[in-house]
């Protein structure tokens, strides 16, 4: 089956998912991001790689934080950035997703950064662009439903590589609501592609999707067992609405079993790092002492995120 994010030469023309990306492509993005880290330290934080190009941030689902980091990344590449809060405009008037895309194509867009509540929406856009012969426009998935959040996955890999250097000796645990998490899926694909020998998923059965084993993941329901000897702990945000149905009884009970406290973290390796895609729910999935502790690398993740998004936005239009 043709992978719609790669061109005939196997080069990345859209970033839709980490699944199916060759290891070299991921490594190339991380290496490119490393070269951009220096730009962020400069007095003038700009490189002219996307000068004259238009980046459209299409957020069909609200997210100030992710949109902001994409905006900063695009501006540091000297692109013109247009933010469209679609949730409140066109689609509210009944325009279809692809009508919106056609209109924006007519405005000479070069790159779409897409956030959508439906899994697969960026694929639909990429396939549409191919169908109407607009191979010059590129799509970067900024999170689609529960499916994928590839730039978050990549910045997580950047963070892990920064602190741990070698992927092939690591034990990585992902803790929490994996069922609803696009971040978890992207992390899992990235980690297994980069050769991490043991990826663990920790959570109650209600928050773990079926068939995780087929994705190369070891499942743990007991957090103490799951955290034992881990090098990296990735905590996931627990949405408040998960508490309203039958998935979980209460935030309190969740925290007692799956919240990351200093005591539980002590079961991991002494030099283990703690990551979180943000925004955090202190006292729900993570104790403040851990969130603010020496092992947390949550704020560096944000900084790396800008470099990684610069890398993606500079690589994709070149192919």
């Amino acid at each position: 089956m043709h992978n719609p994010q790669l061109n005939r030469h196997g080069e990345l023309t859209h970033l839709l998912s980490i699944e199916g990306l060759p290891q070299e492509v991921i490594t190339h993005i991380l290496d490119t991001a490393a070269s951009f880290m220096e730009v962020s330290q400069r007095e003038v934080k700009k490189v002219p790689l996307l000068r004259g190009k238009s980046v459209f941030n299409l957020f069909f689902e609200n997210s100030t934080r992710t949109r902001t980091t994409f905006e900063i990344a695009a501006k540091r590449l000297s692109a013109d950035v247009i933010n469209l809060d679609i949730g409140r405009s066109s689609t509210a008037k009944g325009e279809t997703l692809l009508d919106t895309i056609d209109n924006l194509c007519a405005m000479h867009a070069n790159l779409f950064v897409v956030r959508h509540a439906a899994s697969g929406a960026p694929y639909l856009i990429a396939e549409h662009l191919a169908r109407v012969g607009r191979d010059d426009i590129h799509v970067v998935n900024a999170g689609d439903g529960r499916h994928a959040h590839p730039t978050q996955g990549l910045l997580d890999m950047y963070t892990i590589r920064h602190y741990k250097k070698d992927f092939t000796q690591l034990r990585v645990a992902i803790v929490g609501d994996i069922l609803h998490s696009r971040v978890a899926r992207s992390d899992i694909h990235a980690l297994t592609t980069l050769g991490v020998p043991e990826v663990r998923a920790i959570g109650p059965q209600t928050l773990l999707p079926s068939h995780l084993g087929r994705m190369g993941v070891h499942v743990f329901h007991d957090m103490a067992a799951g955290l034992k000897d881990c090098d990296v702990v990735i905590m996931l945000r627990l949405q408040n609405e998960r508490m309203t149905g039958a998935l979980l009884p209460s935030a309190g009970e969740y925290f007692r079993h799956y919240g990351l406290t200093p005591q539980k973290l002590a079961l991991a390796k002494p030099d283990a790092i703690v990551m979180h895609p943000g925004p955090m729910n202190r006292g729900v999935e993570i104790h403040s002492a851990v969130a603010d502790g020496a092992q947390a690398v949550i704020l560096p993740q944000v900084t790396f995120g800008i470099a990684v998004r610069m890398a993606v936005m500079s690589i994709v239009p070149g192919n």
């Binding site: 089956m1 992978n3 719609p4 699944e19 279809t96 997703l97 692809l98 959508h116 439906a118 899994s119 697969g120 929406a121 694929y123 639909l124 549409h128 689609d144 439903g145 529960r146 499916h147 994928a148 696009r182 899926r185 999707p209 079926s210 068939h211 995780l212 087929r214 994705m215």
Partner: protein, 412 residues
């Protein structure tokens, strides 16, 4: 009008006939097989050399969004009788609506239309529709299409009421609560793609409930669009125990699995969802054994309703013109002989409907399909009469082409 169809291979599963024989038609009925009836002089001779002559197909489920085009599609696909589910807009819950549909179909004069009346008003699963009135207007059975009756007491009462009059009830087994948020089979693909899942238990739990209520009430139950191997096994067991329950499987579920969703291909969105390879094999084996009949589950969906993210796209595929080629393709893959395959879309559906059609015995209505089993054609939008061009098989080369369909002895 007297017609002789000669030189064809006559396959009539109901009457266990598979031979080279001529078929004689007079006054809309089968007048003879093999031997020319006394005094028969054909007004028209149809040469069926190289073709199969068999009963016209009876499709147990086809939605007719634009009735003229879809009934033309039916006869183009060799389908001479079409069972129409009640989930039209508005739902078929009043005798006048059924009456209008039957008359409209008669005016168009293509395939026969056998409407299913709504079991409950507005298909809401609450208040009973006027079943006797609907039956009088031509409804052959009662159904909720793919809508649930959430209230089990309402379900029990509707079965009791239908049983009172000897009406059959057709239900698509799907537990409302387990299925309501789902868009794909709760399996590996849905987990990977981040699609909300519908577990097999949504089907098996509903089947359990429906079978139990059928036992208790004595209603004649037909279960539609079975999607799981476990579900079909359950029904097979009930049949063995002597319960009068029948079922059908949509033709796409005999060919496709969750893996065909690929990268969110909305053409592979079905209700019920495509399941695993094991389910597909179980369904195929069950259909081969005769536990279930095959139907097209024809659901024309406009391009705009498919050009949406997977979960927002309308489920279903065009099927009337694919019923024959996909049934033949299934027969080859499952190593099922031609007569058995044809039985699944002729004699078996007729038995489910309690109809005398679906066979070519003397005196039967001359609903006949003549098709070339070897002829291949490319499945392109322009090759379809149906307004629904939505198919996961678009661009495929398929085998089996209808030459002629006769309904009541008239060429359509």
């Amino acid at each position: 009008m007297k017609i002789e169809i000669r030189n064809g291979r006559l396959i009539d599963p109901k009457n266990r006939r598979d031979e080279g024989a001529s078929l004689f038609i007079a006054a809309g009925k089968i007048a003879g097989i093999g031997q020319t009836p006394a005094g028969f002089v054909a007004d028209q001779v149809i040469d069926a050399a190289g073709a199969i002559v068999c009963p016209g197909f009876i499709d147990l489920g086809a939605r007719l969004n634009s009735i003229e085009a879809e009934l033309a599609a039916a006869v183009a696909g060799g389908v001479t009788s079409v069972v129409v589910p009640p989930d039209a807009d508005p739902p078929l819950d009043e005798p006048e609506l059924a009456d209008r549909l039957v008359h409209r179909a008669a005016d168009i004069g293509k395939a026969r239309v056998l409407p299913l009346g709504a079991l409950t008003l507005g298909l809401k699963g609450e208040r009973l529709a006027e079943l006797a009135g609907l039956a009088k207007a031509g409804c052959v059975a009662f159904s909720q299409a793919n809508r649930p009756v959430v209230d089990t007491e309402a379900l029990l009462r509707s079965f009791e009421y239908a049983a009172t009059f000897g009406f059959a009830v057709w239900m698509q087994p799907q537990d409302h609560w387990l299925a309501r948020n789902g868009i794909a089979h709760a399996g590996e693909v849905a987990s990977r793609l981040g699609l909300a899942g519908i577990p097999v238990s949504a089907e098996t739990i509903a089947i359990g409930t429906l079978l139990q209520l059928a036992r208790d009430t004595g209603v004649r139950l037909h279960l539609t669009r079975i999607s799981s191997a476990a579900g079909l096994t359950q029904i097979g067991k009930a049949q063995k125990e002597g319960l009068k329950v029948s079922c059908d499987v949509g033709i796409h579920h005999l060919h496709l699995t969750e893996n065909d969703i690929g990268f969110f291909d909305s053409q592979a969105r079905f209700d019920p969802p495509l399941r695993t390879q094991g389910d597909r094999q179980g369904l195929s084996a069950g259909v081969a054994r005769g536990v279930a009949a095959i139907c097209s589950d024809h659901t024309p969906v406009g391009a705009d309703d498919k050009l949406l993210p997977f979960g927002e796209a309308k489920p279903g595929a065009t099927g009337l013109e694919l019923l024959l080629p996909l049934t033949l393709k299934w027969a080859t893959a499952a190593d099922v002989d031609l007569a058995t395959a044809i039985a699944r879309i002729t004699a078996d559906p007729a038995a489910i409907l309690g109809s005398d059609r679906g066979q070519l015995g003397e005196g039967a209505d001359a609903d006949v399909c003549i098709f070339d089993p070897e002829a291949s054609w490319r499945l392109l939008p322009e090759a379809l009469r149906s307004k629904g061009k939505n198919t996961p098989f678009l661009g495929y080369e398929v085998q089996g082409k209808v030459r002629v369909a006769l309904v009541g002895g008239t060429q359509k």
